[in-house]
Amino acid sequence: MQIPAQFDYVRASTIEDALALLDRHGAESRVVAGGHSLLPMMKLRLARPECLVDINDLYELDFILPEATQLRIGALTRHSALLESTDVARLFPIVIDAERVIADPIVRNRGTIGGSLCQADPAEDLATVCDVLHAQAVVRGPGGERILTMDEFHKGPYETAVAQNELLVEIRFPIRPRSGSAYEKVERRVGDWAVVAAGAAVSFTVDGSVDDVAIGLTAVGLDGTISEAEAVLRGRRPSEVLFAEAGRLAAEASLPVDDQRGPVDYKRHLADELTRRVLRRACARALETQTTTMQEG
């Protein structure tokens, strides 16, 4: 049994209560959601918060709410809830692709989307997903609510714009017509963090050319999406040649490091290979939804 250093523990009952507790317990207090990132770090004594503010009773943060132009997801929504949601599957298949390969069912039953994003592990899968979906993060603090783009939200490895006395409360995914998305990850074993993973989201104009596209890579040292690769596709009809070019540029942009999961050249190769695969699948999915919408219409 690995044993964390001593800490206090309080349980919040509402968002306001959680914010007040964070304020009261000060700089060394931390929110605990699913605990699947924070507790392992505490057991290894890499994190030593003096007080944990448990937000698991904040049911108001546990929701998946489709609206006309966006999908709203509460920060306390569990991985498993995302994986099981038909709304999510219909609108953003990339989330399902990613959730299938995040950890294992035990972790997914507890871990939350909010915790994943706030942990900001460089190999974290949902960050890439949120990046390519142009998600917005809703953050609440003593001074009220802020809405951030993912660029504003991410501040580098293990750092976000969420201050110690703030809560991430909600993620919003804008819904686009004629769109498709996909995620693919290479891992050494089920439940392992990504060697490399790629995500893509595309939307098409009515005449079948790419309206907007976003490409992101996980675990290769990049912040945000890869504009060089995206530019190749925008305004054009998708083709294997363009996917290959986008893959090449994504690999070029990536900044992987050599570690136990693989050497740099392999990770670059994966950046290329996986970019091509997710673009292919995202486009196919977009065209599929287009066909079904047309049939329905």
Binding site: M1, G191, L274
Partner: protein
């Protein structure tokens, strides 16, 4: 994972269908495990018990400059802090290993591997003990470590064991088997020779339960009770007596339920000794249970063999000889656990299942700045390494000769009529029908169809591989004329008592870590004397309750202890005959046995059941002379030879050409372990071992960086396969009984772990062969497979 039954299960129905003896019955121990009522070392709570925690070295090689325990001692709840200096005074700073070396219990002079034991804190609870570790101030003078075994013998290499007088290098031993000159001669005249370096990298058994102990020293009686995670309680008691000076009759070792061992719980770890010292020093019981990282970083690892293999054959595929030079990394202390005369374990069975003209091996053991160990993880004393070597070499030969690897094996397997077969390194294989097993495996696999499918896929650029491994093990150590562990013969005892009402208790010297002994051994008794298995209690794990014996590892329980149990049951059966004769007022020679009952020849209606005889024995029946009034017996079994289980495994993999990711699609395992006592338990052992094999072949690896930092110190980095990585196991079996074993049984606990990694690796190489790949080393992680695809395969170490 689903499980394919290749034969009909025993109906789970009423007692009438349950076999009295061998057969498929549910495990007697499982009700307590599935209800969460197992009782492990960490469940033990004694009155007044204290908790220990070990401070471990953050660096791999360093001179110890100073330790200051003042702040730790001042921490609330801390009772004592023990350092190497304290142990020097008690003459306990160094303890003998199982390989004629010594190991530091706590560092006195120099740290020799990362994770080594530096100090021991004893506190009122485990939180205080853990917190106090951070308050011990240690000053290390860091030295250059020896990490790469290939450079351990370089002239300028730092000398790790400089505490041993006169030591100027890191050499531990050279060991040879076979005949070098004969082998060289065969190689000189062979048509074809294939050479390859094959690396079996360091892995770790990682049992679900980590190691731990509760020591309870009673000062008035001078008696020690030690609860510990041990696969060999009796051997541990003797060693504790020798090391501690506590008389052996005052030591009681109890191994309660053990949550997996795989060889990880054979040795005596510093933590056990520290718990004992702690109890002596404080006068209170002391519990020490290591955490996962401590287990991975400091306890017995497995493998770490760099093997230069060579195989010689005629051009039409007759294998003539195998030779190999091995560099064995033993870590900082030589603490491998195997019969003492065999520093490379039973590696010299690398001749495999083939009829060779010559063979030779030379193994050189070296010290490095890594955790000690080496023989662990279901390896049958290094048969794993031997099988990987020979099965990889045979596959490479097939590739070179452009022969089908199944055909090449069939051509060279030892023939049934050649048994007992003497191989070229001194083994006598007891029995086998290899071709039958190979053909059955191919039949279950649909081998020819698989090859056809592969051809079609290759034409489309898909990477599908088919890998074969045919293995022969040598298990059940061992005959006292050939082997011992630190002077203790490798025999096992058994005692059987039939209570007056016909219920029985059998006491055995081996210790289950999940193998199902409480069921299998009851079934052996049941088969011999006809009492149902549920009426037979199997007692093990407590040295005060059981006869002496060397414990469970190297698949030896059924070959050795199983034989002891069968023989003790036969002894009781024989005694029962005399008592039955007295009860029936007839002569013993007029009685005939049917399962459970002696009856009068020619008059089956007149007889006595075992229960009646038991009551008679303890009752008032006038007993014949020389027969005392009980139905008990005991034996100690010294095996005449080892047993040689074997198997034919076929693996099918698909490799993603874009990512190098390997998917094990099918795995066919045909095992022959002689007489099958409980087929369900055998299949369970095989399924577990195959899963281990997937782990070793695809992901499990303890690596080190240049500074000697362990890179596999948690389950984040040391990957263990899950149900998602393993296919539907397809098992089959043949039965070739061991001629010298009382019931014809051979060990099976490690067969699948030994046999499966080469099948998977051979399948991966086969998949990559269209790209010109002839070899890669395990683990076949996506990155390593991809490198091999680029023609840049590198050894993992």
């Amino acid at each position: 994972m689903t499980i394919t039954e290749t034969h009909a299960p025993n109906p789970a129905a009423g007692d009438a269908d349950r076999p009295i003896g061998y057969g498929r019955i549910q495990r007697k121990e499982d009700p307590r495990f599935v209800r969460g009522k197992g009782h492990y070392v960490d469940d033990i709570v004694l009155p007044g018990m204290l908790h220990g925690a070990i401070l471990r070295s953050p660096v791999a090689h360093a001179r110890l400059v100073s330790i200051d325990t003042t702040r730790a001692l001042a921490h609330p709840g801390v009772v004592a802090v023990i350092t190497g200096k304290d142990l020097l005074g008690l003459k306990l700073a160094w303890a003998p290993t199982l390989s004629a070396d010594v190991q530091a219990v706590l560092v006195t002079d120099k740290v020799r591997f990362q994770g080594q034991e530096v100090a021991f804190v004893i506190a009122e609870d485990r939180y205080a003990a853990r917190d106090a570790l951070e308050l011990i101030d240690v000053d290390y003078d860091v030295l250059t470590p020896v990490v790469d075994a290939r450079h351990a013998l370089d002239p300028g290499a730092p000398v790790i064991r400089d505490e041993i007088e006169g030591r100027t290098d890191n050499h531990i031993f050279d060991w040879e088997a076979g005949n070098a000159a004969e082998t060289d001669a065969v190689f000189a005249s062979a048509d074809v020779i294939v050479k390859q370096e094959i690396v079996y990298p360091r892995s770790h058994p990682a049992p679900m339960e980590t190691c731990g102990a509760v020591a309870d020293f009673e000062p008035i009686e001078g008696a020690l009770t030690l609860y510990e995670t041990s696969q060999a309680p009796h051997a541990h008691r003797t060693l504790f007596a020798i090391v501690s000076g506590i008389p052996e009759h005052k030591i009681r070792i109890v191994s309660p339920d053990i949550g997996g061992g795989f060889g990880n719980k054979v040795g005596i770890y510093p933590g056990y000794i520290l718990a004992v010292v702690g109890s002596i020093v404080t006068g209170r019981p002391v519990k020490w249970v290591e955490d996962r990282s401590e287990n991975l970083m400091s306890t017995s690892f497995a493998r770490d063999y760099i093997m230069q293999g060579e195989i010689a054959a005629t051009k039409d595929g007759k294998i003539l000889a195998v030779r190999t030079n091995v560099l064995a990394d033993h870590g900082a202390f030589n603490a491998t656990a195997q019969p003492t005369k065999y520093p490379a374990g039973f590696f010299h069975i690398f001749t495999g299942s083939y009829d060779l003209q010559a063979a030779h091996c030379k193994v050189t053991g070296v010290y490095t700045n890594k955790a000690p160990g080496g023989v662990a993880y279901a390896c049958s004393f290094r048969v794993t390494e031997a099988v990987l070597l020979v099965e990889r070499m045979v596959d490479m030969l097939a590739q070179k000769l452009e022969m089908d690897p199944a055909e090449l094996r069939l051509k060279n397997l030892i023939k049934p009529e050649q048994f007992p077969y003497k191989n070229k390194t001194g083994w006598e294989y007891d029995s086998g029908n290899y071709e039958r097993a190979m053909r059955l495996s191919m039949e279950i696999a649909g081998y020819d169809d698989l090859r056809r499918e592969q051809k079609e896929k290759r034409a489309r650029g898909e990477l599908m591989g088919i890998g074969i491994s045919f293995f022969t093990e040598t298990v059940g150590a061992g005959p006292r004329k050939h082997m011992d562990i630190v002077g203790l013969g490798m025999a096992d005892g058994a005692e059987l008592r039939i209570h007056p009402t016909g219920k029985a208790v059998v006491r055995i010297s081996v210790q289950s870590q999940g193998q199902g002994h409480e069921t299998t051994f009851a079934q052996i008794v049941a088969e011999e004397i006809g009492i149902p298995p549920e009426d037979i209690d199997v007692v093990h794990g407590d040295t005060d309750q059981t006869p002496f014996g060397l414990g469970t590892y190297g698949s030896r329980s059924t070959p050795v202890s199983g034989a002891a149990v069968a023989l003790v049951a036969r002894k009781v059966r024989e005694k029962a005959k005399f008592i039955a004769a007295a009860m029936l007022e007839t002569r013993p020679e007029d009685l005939e046995w049917e399962k459970g009952r002696w009856f009068v020849k020619g008059d089956p209606s007149v007889g006595k059941t075992m229960a009646e005889i038991a009551m008679g024995a303890h009752g008032t029946v006038a007993l014949p002379e020389g027969i005392d009034g009980n139905l008990d017996a005991e034996v100690t079994y010294d095996p005449p030879n080892l047993t040689f289980p074997f198997g034919a495994y076929i693996c099918v993999v698909d490799v993603d050409p874009g990512t190098g990711h390997v998917k094990v699609r099918r795995f066919i395992a045909v095992d022959d372990c002689g007489t099958r006592i409980n087929p369900m338990i055998i299949e369970g052992q095989v399924h577990g071992g195959l899963t281990d094999g997937v782990g070793m072949a695809l992901m499990q690896f303890i690596g080190f960086d240049e500074a000697g930092n362990n890179l596999g110190g948690s389950f984040m980095d040391y990957l263990i396969p899950t149900s998602m990585e393993v296919p539907n196991w397809e098992t089959g079996f043949t039965v070739t009984p061991s001629p010298h074993h009382p019931i014809g049984a051979k060990g099976v606990g490690e067969s699948a772990t030994v046999g499966s990694p080469p099948a998977i690796l051979n399948a991966v190489v086969d998949a990559l062969s269209p790209l010109g790949v002839t070899h890669m080393d395990i683990p076949c992680t996506p990155a390593r497979v991809w490198a091999a695809m680029q023609g840049r395969a590198t050894p993992p170490i």
